[in-house]
């Protein structure tokens, strides 16, 4: 997802100065969902000065030799506190910071890991995505958190074109770069040793998914992911450990409603205003933040499907 409400600059500056005064950041509360996999649950909100954009599920995987952080967090403090959680959990070095996509709630903690000199990993299209949106996201986030609280993203240097294996020592992570779905630079991580799929924002649970890539593409990527021998998944938003592929059911149902209703409207020669007012309404009570995002999803779906 991406933040939508941008208010409270003065409050943000005030809170940032409090953070600075309190010294070393406390480690994030993380849960070991499977052996060596640690996740912090984000709050189901948009970014606010109070939540410091700590809204995504983020964490790390520990191998015999090294640690891979998966999504460095949504702000400076989110990244610093995640780093503190790694240091409190293991003495293995942070070798990789893997970024699942370019949305601000997943990447603005990246610079907090600079002292570890990790390799930053991302989808081959991620540098382009950051070029397009990075400065804009920084400015909008700074309006909420203040310039110092915003943190900074890092352009990945280890790029995944299709597949990449990362060896953490006795534990190999399978990274897959996908075609446009949630965004046009989505990366998933499969941990074969525990059968865990780190789906990030390709899987939203309880909170309404945000389509910033391709509706048709996302449904296709879900089919691919469902064929993985994974028993559990880690969603980008929602509970931190869910049965796979069962947990994709709600998301797929919502996408199919959007697809069916938008195509039907287009076939009747209907316009985008009608689509915004009518498509997806049967899903209203099934998702958090429905009113904030359904209309935007319908616009995205309409704009994609009107070219079919």
């Amino acid at each position: 997802m991406q933040p939508r409400h941008f208010t409270g600059l003065i409050v943000a500056l005030f809170l940032t100065s409090l953070d600075n005064a309190s010294g070393a950041p406390p480690p994030l509360p993380v849960t070991e969902v499977a052996s060596g996999i640690f996740v912090r649950q984000g709050v189901q909100e948009d970014a606010t000065p109070t939540n410091n954009d700590m809204i995504a599920n983020i964490g790390f995987i520990v191998g015999a030799d090294a640690v891979a952080v998966i999504d460095p967090g949504g702000s400076r403090i989110d990244g610093e506190r995640l780093r503190a959680a790694v240091l409190a959990t293991t003495n293995r070095p942070i070798r990789y910071v893997i970024m699942s996509h370019a949305h601000p709630d997943h990447v603005f903690g990246a610079a907090a890991f600079a002292p570890d000199h990790p390799t930053y990993v991302g989808h081959a299209r991620m540098p382009g995505a950051l070029a397009d949106r990075g400065e804009y996201d920084r400015r909008r986030l700074a309006e909420i958190l203040g310039v110092k609280g915003t943190g900074d993203f890092v352009v990945p240097t280890l790029l995944v074109e299709k597949e990449l294996k990362l060896d953490l020592g006795g534990r190999v992570l399978d990274l897959s770069a996908h075609a446009a779905a949630h965004t046009d630079s989505d990366l998933t991580i499969f941990d074969r040793s525990t059968g865990t799929l780190w789906a990030a924002d390709l899987l939203f649970v309880d909170r309404i998914p945000v389509i910033d890539g391709s509706l048709v593409g996302w449904l296709k990527v879900l089919q691919d992911l469902k064929s993985l021998p994974a028993a559990h998944a880690i969603p980008g938003h929602g509970p931190i450990f869910v049965p796979w592929p069962a947990a994709a059911t709600d998301e797929e149902r919502y996408f199919n409603v959007l697809l069916r209703e938008t195509r039907a409207l287009l076939a009747r020669g209907g316009n985008i205003e009608t689509a915004i007012a009518t498509v997806g309404q049967s899903e209203r009570d099934k998702w958090l933040l429905f009113d904030e995002y359904n209309g935007r999803n319908v616009i995205a779906a309409f704009k994609e499907l009107e070219w079919e």
Binding site: R133, Y136, R139, A180, N271, R296
Partner: protein
């Protein structure tokens, strides 16, 4: 006149780029006053009640794609239609010049809105009178925000067009033109080079029906990515509809459509 005057407006707007809270009515009125002088000089502009209406969502869901709709009461008498988004970096979003094949009772398009703003539609009649309709739109970030969701597809499809019949209420002669084009405004920064991505946007769209002009559009960066234009047509036989589009890179795209195919 237009490039010079709007160049100045653009400069001022870019300096003020950080998104601000809603402006007061006096600031909005002053801005509109400056704009109308820049665009129309000292010509009188009459309240357009009964002549034209402008519809736009009070609060836009996606600032990079805000649907707007203009209806005109006496289409044969309208020569041109100006769409102005007051607080955008380049406020004059488009000028539609209607030809003999147009049925200008209705015109719709999609625009970017950079901050909370007044929006104006100005109709120019054949005898040179100007009429205005106004709307206030709450939306922010539509110009500087990236809107391309699928970069590979956007480049692969660049310049493609579609023409299709659409239903706008009881209107049976409405057509929608879709143009695949990023209409990139050059306001995003490349992280590696620290340069702004060069702008590439649609400057001119000309639609003809047989040998007759339907409309010619002077466009600008305020149109959404993949611009969509819904317009009316006076039916007259089976002549092809031809669309010719020029963008700021001097590329020219031209495509012809069979009207009966668009309606099937």
């Amino acid at each position: 006149m237009r490039p010079i005057v709007l160049g100045i407006v653009l400069l001022v707007a870019v300096v003020n780029l950080p998104v601000r809270a809603a402006e007061d009515a006096a600031t909005q009125a002053a801005r509109w006053h400056d704009l109308r002088v820049a665009i129309f000089g000292d010509r009188a502009i009459t309240d357009g009640a009964g002549v034209l209406t402008l519809e736009a969502p009070a609060r836009a869901l996606d600032a990079a794609l805000v649907p707007i709709s203009v209806t005109l009461a006496d289409p044969p008498n309208v020569k041109a239609l100006y769409i102005i988004i007051d607080a955008n970096p380049s406020p004059l979003a488009g000028v539609f010049h209607f030809g003999p094949a147009a049925d200008a009772h209705m015109l719709k398009t999609r625009v970017r809105v950079d901050q909370y703003t007044l929006m104006h539609a100005v109709a120019e009649t054949a005898d040179g009178h100007l009429f205005v309709a106004e709307q206030y739109v709450k939306a922010a970030g539509g110009c500087s925000a990236p809107s391309t969701k699928n970069r590979e597809l956007a480049m692969a499809r660049l310049g493609q067009m579609k023409l299709k019949a659409v239903s706008e209420g009881s209107d049976v002669n409405a057509l929608q033109l879709l143009i695949s084009h990023p209409n990139n405004n050059g306001m995003q920064m490349d992280q590696v080079t620290r340069n702004y991505v060069p702008a590439r946007y649609i400057q001119d769209v000309k639609v003809t029906y047989g040998n007759d002009l339907v409309f010619q559009l002077d466009a600008d960066i305020s149109l959404s990515e993949d611009p969509a234009i819904t317009f009316g047509l006076t039916p007259r036989g089976s002549a092809p509809i031809t669309v010719e589009m020029h963008d700021s890179s001097t590329a020219v795209f031209k495509q012809s459509f069979d009207l009966t195919a668009a309606r099937s």
